[in-house]
Subunit: 141 residues, 2 copies
DNA sequence: AGCCTTAATGAAAATGGTTCTCATGTCGGT
DNA sequence: ACCGACATGAGAACCATTTTCATTAAGGCT
């Protein structure tokens, strides 16, 4: 690879930059359309493998990061230091998580949203967003 | 150590469980009293070393975790996947964080607490706790 | 003061999620 | 079909944190 035999023909540089449509990328996007909950890169990787998809873990990480950067995904960090992604849904909601069995319930409440916005504005903050996770022990645990 | 020559005198079992007061633990507590901003375990370790303290990184991690479990410290996770700690002011509260400069304001509101508890109970959850972080761009950014 | 039990310490190794490397595969325009 | 550039993926590298385990020292007891 050390030999660089001159760029003969086209000196035309193509910046392109366009993203290519690949099987793997489509698979990741599809899974995220099906499931509406937060999932880590590794969970998504497992899901895809179970669906019979051949895809590398690295590619999953890369794709999720690309999508997140592009604003197509929401990302949160779990208490374990993992990053979980979710399709950026129009509706905003929070999670009620059982700290024993991990069961998750989606909840939402305008009260919290309003409160968060009001408080933030009082302090002169703009472009407000927030993360809220509720933990507890569920019925069956 | 295999020989167990009988517990002659006191058969009294001492569960003790009391925490011992050590130089290292005191040093960590002192640093956290001085600085009111969020700092990672490694930053605190560096701080202590610069102060001339001899302390291992492991001990810093352990001590911070103990204090956090005891409710003496607030812990948040940075975007880099690091955990940052700060001395906890008395009451329960949340954080309003500027996503540009990192400035942090403590906020609290009974409304959220009540809402979180109510929602969780509706779903049959017990021993409820929650994390709430509000993000925004502050005045000066 | 000396003993003794046990928590605490810390250096090094292990862990585990995420990122980097680089050889190979494949998309898409010509 | 050709070709250059982007995409893929297996494995290595990274890095914060945790675990291991031999050693140190706190603090109650006599």
């Amino acid at each position: 690879m050390t030999t660089k035999p001159a760029t003969t023909t086209g000196t035309t540089i193509k910046p392109s930059g366009a993203q290519r449509k690949t099987r793997q990328r489509a698979a990741v996007e599809e899974i995220l359309s099906d499931r509406h909950d937060f999932r880590t890169a590794q969970q998504i990787h497992d899901d895809l493998r179970h669906h019979g998809e051949r895809i590398g873990l690295t590619t999953v990480y890369r794709t999720l990061q690309l999508m997140s950067d592009a604003g197509d995904l929401d990302a949160i960090r779990t208490g374990d230091g993992e990053t979980a992604y979710r399709r950026c849904s129009t509706g905003h909601h929070h999670h009620l998580v059982c700290r024993t069995c991990g069961r998750t319930v989606e909840v939402s409440g305008p009260a919290v949203e309003q409160w968060a916005n009001a408080v933030a504005e009082q302090h002169g903050f703009r472009e407000i967003s927030h993360d809220l996770e509720i933990f507890g022990t569920c019925n069956t645990c």
